[in-house]
């Protein structure tokens, strides 16, 4: 006899809001084609999805204080998941804002574009609120499938198709690993719930099956955060995808995957910490070094940012490697706080950098390589200044959020006694200064070969840039409130 658990619908309102927004967008896309299939559908889609995301974000923010689990312990709403939900929703909102022109180019497919974006976001917030590996998997697949399609949304472009196919094939393998790992875990412990997993893994020294399961599950997520050696798909997918989707992958997808990893490692896999901590250490070093070294040789900015996003995943892995398994309360663990803080900073500065690239794309000619952006710094002063701020922040120079983020992460590593790891990270930062500043070199110190026309004003992009520049500087100068929020969020891990 199946008994349905009592469901507290209130805590599901954010998810419900997103789901209805997505379906509504699909319906609108069917019935409203707009006059002459111009930019109408794109504008309507943008407004509707912004509305849905905003409602969902407000409802999520409203849950900041609450801690509850529902659907028989499948979901867990606590400040940690609320924090990540808000981060993901903010990333999605930024992404919708920078997508307006891209979606306009899709003409009558704009509605579907936005619907997929919303569904992907829904998948993410399900992922980070999940308390059960199977729910995580459902969220992950909802997200991944939507993003695969979005990567290939320019159906007539070979690069986009190649990117989508590569991402899909590799992603399908990763999902396979993940579900395989979940199955093994179930075999060992008889459960897929995080908290029961921890109890099941406690005590006895783990057998080969447990470790295989741990490895397989980790592979599934490390793929999404583009850690070395699971990063092969990143450069091609980032370069081939439409730029707003690249931003979305770099920002929201990564934040969601890190959210799950943080919870999984600290709640479910804590008894196995002696096995995964060294793995994180190694992967952090490999990811930082490979990402930074490869980024030096890129002349395409999207590809450069792809490698840079690999490198930044490496920095966050430094924080994961510095988690203290013996600390009683995670609220005090600087490693977790620094990881969460860095993810926020990373989201803001990366979204901003991509927004600049998209804005430059409005000139009507490709603006993606270092040669193509020459001379834009003085021609478009505000845009140039914004890009400079993002590049300095990505390089970790003060007074930007990127600096404080790195400072916290390396502090956490040093406090755990990993001075060597911190030194490697810092040297990597020094390398990264070179390729980030090269962008400002091209923008400010070289002249464009052809004259640059005036740039048409775009409200959503300007808004995005204003918000992200403000965010980067605010996080670099007065970070206390975010640090407090991050501290409260990680308090609810374990």
């Amino acid at each position: 006899m199946l008994s349905f658990p009592e469901i507290n619908w209130n805590i599901l309102i954010p998810q419900a809001a997103l789901a209805s927004a997505g379906f509504f967008l699909l319906l609108v896309a069917v019935f409203y084609r707009g006059p002459g299939a111009g930019k109408g559908p794109a504008r309507v889609g943008a407004v509707l999805s912004l509305f849905g995301l905003a409602v969902s974000a407000c409802m999520t923010a409203y849950q900041w204080e609450s801690v509850s689990s529902d659907l028989g312990g499948l979901l867990r709403i606590d400040p940690f998941s609320t924090f990540f939900n808000l981060l993901i929703l903010a990333g999605a909102i930024l992404c919708v804002l920078i997508s307006v022109r891209e979606a306009g180019g899709l003409r009558h497919l704009a509605g579907e574009y936005y619907a997929l974006l919303i569904f992907a976001t829904l998948g993410m917030i399900v992922m980070v609120s999940a308390a059960d590996l199977l729910v995580v998997f459902i969220g992950l697949e909802t997200m991944s499938l939507s993003v695969y399609i979005l990567v290939g949304s320019r159906r007539t472009e070979a690069a986009g198709n190649e990117a989508a196919l590569k991402y899909f094939l590799m992603g399908a393998f990763a999902s396979g690993f993940l579900i395989y790992g979940i199955a093994f875990l179930y075999g060992v412990t008889g459960t897929t719930k995080f908290e029961l997993l921890a109890a099941g893994l406690q005590g006895n020294s783990p057998g080969a099956l447990t470790l295989t399961a741990l490895g397989l599950v980790l592979v599934g997520f490390l793929f999404k955060i583009s850690a070395v050696p699971f990063h092969m798909w990143v450069p091609d997918a980032y370069e081939g995808a439409p730029t707003p989707i690249t931003a979305y992958m770099a920002v929201a997808v990564k934040a969601a995957a890190f959210g799950v990893i943080l919870r999984l490692l600290t709640v479910g896999f804590m008894p196995l910490s002696e096995y995964w901590l060294p793995v994180m250490w190694t992967l952090a070093v490999a990811t930082m070094i490979l990402g930074n070294l490869a980024a030096i040789f890129q002349s395409n900015l999207k590809r450069m940012l792809a490698y840079s996003s690999i490198a930044h995943a490496g920095y966050i892995l430094v924080a994961l490697a510095s988690i203290d398994p013996n600390s009683g309360a995670f609220g005090d663990d600087p490693a977790l706080i620094s990881a969460v803080f860095y993810l926020v900073v990373y989201t803001v500065m990366n979204a901003g950098a991509f927004a600049v690239l998209i804005y430059l794309g409005h000139l009507g000619r490709p603006m993606e390589t270092l040669e193509e952006v020459r001379g834009t710094g003085f021609r478009y002063p505000l845009l140039g200044a914004a890009m400079a701020v993002f590049m300095f922040s990505l390089a970790g120079l003060p007074p930007t959020g990127g600096f404080l983020g790195k400072f916290y992460i390396f502090s956490a590593a040093v406090q755990r006694g990993f001075v060597g790891l911190a030194v490697i990270g810092v040297l990597n930062s020094a390398v990264s200064v070179y390729y980030y500043l090269r962008v400002t070199v091209q923008m400010y110190m070289r002249e464009s070969e052809e004259s640059l026309p005036a740039l048409p004003f775009s409200f959503p992009l300007s808004l995005t840039l204003a918000v992200t520049v403000w965010g980067v500087l605010q996080l670099g100068v007065i970070p206390s409130s975010l640090l407090e929020a991050a501290g409260r969020a990680v308090l609810f891990l374990r």
């Binding site: 003085f378 040297l427 020094a430 400010y444 070289r446």
Partner: protein, 528 residues
């Protein structure tokens, strides 16, 4: 003293952030209103200098403590505070920076015609960063200001520089960032040691002074800090970025770079590397001093054979800053005072020399010595200023350079390593050789190049640019007392603390655990 601190406690914030506020105002002015932009930038920097004079008058000469202290919590969970203050060591560096601001702005009137607005904004941000770095008493705050000055300088060199500007700009920033990031790791480690020893998180410099770091850790920490500062000074063999940066930078950039940014390195030694890790500093002193001596002689010899005026002055900086380091490492009152005095001298005289080279370059678009000769008859006013700056750089008695060099040599003689006096004195002789030889080739002899016949003498604006430094050269040479008496208490205190901390480290290092547990602590600095 109490009254001074309370009544003017916010003056430092004003001095530091006035240029930044000015930069924000400048962003609102349309870029084509060149005159307005220039006058406004001049007005802001001049106002800032006037404000900084109140530091001089309000400074209590007999006190060794930090004065004009501002302290507010900032990032409380990490113990970071907004903590500013000056003592006798930093006071004159702040004044020097503020003094050169209007001079530099005025010197760009005709030299910078492209993107004037951005140029002035960057100069003002740079000014804010430099002033902030000199008055920060919190490590995080210092680090932020320290890096904030890099970016405008990088853009100044890269955008308004000469032919190889991009190479020079990247080389400059990569050298400096590599050094300062390693310092960051060192600082984080110190922060962690500090929290162990003190029992709370703090990045406050005065609190961190109280931490006695075990000897083996001091060694590595000192290396990480000293590397960052040595690159900035620059100490041989980390000097290779300097000639490139100087030669490619626009005149204003060279002046600021030489006059203030290089001082950041020597200031870092005396404010951070030496007092935080005195035992390691003591052990490594012969190494640092040897490198400084190599820098003095090598810089002088290379300067001698330079065909390019700007490169010559750049290498002379390497030589002069070796002097400063020797003075600081003598750990004697006169040596350190002389070292600080020499920082100011070098800022003024080398700044003036770069301005002079810039004035020649504007007229002839070349800096090669062989292109000149016999200019003194054509340009008498120019010749006067050039002569004064040259003699000041050499250290002629009656001018500022002499006081500093004399004190450094005196201090070295009384130090634990008196042997270095010999090499340092060689540097004095060599500097006379290359400077005077250069001066003769440029200014005297027959006028061989017909292009030089039509050269104009200085305009009123250019006289106004060169006059303040020239006045300071005489003033500091003839009346050093007001400067020295304000430095003296802080320097004496520094030396006393340095020796005491070495003793405590030696005692404590027999049981390093006691150090970390905070059982042995250096209590002389009271945080409140």
């Amino acid at each position: 003293m109490e009254i001074v601190e309370i009544s003017q406690s916010d003056i430092l914030s004003w001095i530091v952030f006035l240029p930044l506020a000015g930069a924000l105002i400048l962003t609102l002015i349309p870029g084509r209103r060149l005159a307005l932009l220039r006058w406004l930038a001049l007005g802001i920097t001049a106002l800032d200098f006037v404000a900084s004079l109140s530091l001089f008058s309000g400074f209590v000469p007999s006190a060794h403590e930090m004065q004009f202290v501002v302290r507010r919590p900032w990032i409380e969970s990490w113990g970071v505070s907004y903590h500013l203050g000056v003592d006798g060591i930093s006071l004159f560096l702040v004044l020097l920076t503020a003094f050169l601001g209007p001079v530099v702005v005025l010197s760009t009137w005709s030299a910078i015609t492209r993107s004037v607005k951005s140029f002035m904004i960057l100069i003002l941000i740079l000014q804010c960063g430099m002033l902030g770095a000199f008055v920060s008493l919190d490590m995080v705050l210092f680090y932020i200001f320290w890096e904030v000055m890099l970016l405008p300088m990088y853009l100044l060199i890269g955008v308004w520089g000469h032919e190889k500007r991009i190479y020079a700009a990247l080389k400059f920033i990569l050298y400096t960032v590599a050094g300062s990031l390693l310092m960051l790791v060192g600082f984080i480690y110190l922060f962690w040691l500090g929290s162990q020893s003190l029992g709370y998180f703090t990045t406050d410099l005065l609190d961190l002074y109280r931490v006695v770091v075990p000897y083996h850790a001091q060694f590595w920490l000192f290396l990480s800090f000293a590397l960052a500062f040595a690159i900035k000074v620059p100490i041989f063999p980390f000097h290779t970025w300097l000639p490139d940066a100087h030669v490619e930078a626009p005149t204003a950039g060279s002046v600021i770079l030489a006059a203030v940014l290089l001082k950041m390195g020597t200031y870092g030694f005396i404010r951070f590397a030496m007092p935080l890790f005195p035992s390691a500093s003591e052990v490594l002193a012969p190494l640092v001093m040897t490198l400084a001596v190599i820098g003095i002689i090598y810089g002088a010899l290379v300067a001698m054979v330079q065909p390019d005026l700007k490169k010559l002055v750049a290498y002379s900086s390497v030589s002069h800053l070796g002097f400063v380091i020797l003075g600081l490492y003598s750990i004697t009152a006169s040596g350190i005072t002389g070292g600080i005095y020499q920082m100011l001298n070098h800022g003024i005289s080398t700044g003036a020399l770069f301005l002079i080279v810039g004035i020649l370059y504007e007229r002839r678009h070349t800096r090669l010595i062989e292109q000149f000769g016999g200019l003194s008859a054509r340009l008498p006013i120019f010749a006067f200023f050039f002569m004064v700056a040259t003699l000041s750089s050499i250290g002629l008695p009656g001018l500022n350079g002499f006081v500093g060099e004399f004190l450094v040599l005196l201090g070295l003689y009384g130090s634990e390593h008196p042997g270095f006096v010999f090499f340092a004195a060689t540097g004095v002789v060599l500097s006379a050789v290359y400077m005077l030889w250069m001066f003769r080739r440029v200014m005297f002899g027959p006028l061989t190049h017909p292009e030089n016949e039509g050269l104009r003498d200085l305009s009123l604006r250019e006289v106004l640019v060169l006059l303040p430094p020239a006045v300071m050269m005489f003033w500091m040479g003839l009346f050093p007392q007001p400067f020295l008496e304000r430095m003296q208490p802080s320097v004496d205190y520094f030396i006393q603390q340095y020796h005491r901390k070495i003793e405590i480290t030696e005692v404590g290092s027999q049981e390093p655990d006691n150090l970390l547990a905070g059982k042995v602590r250096f209590e002389s600095y009271d945080p409140e």
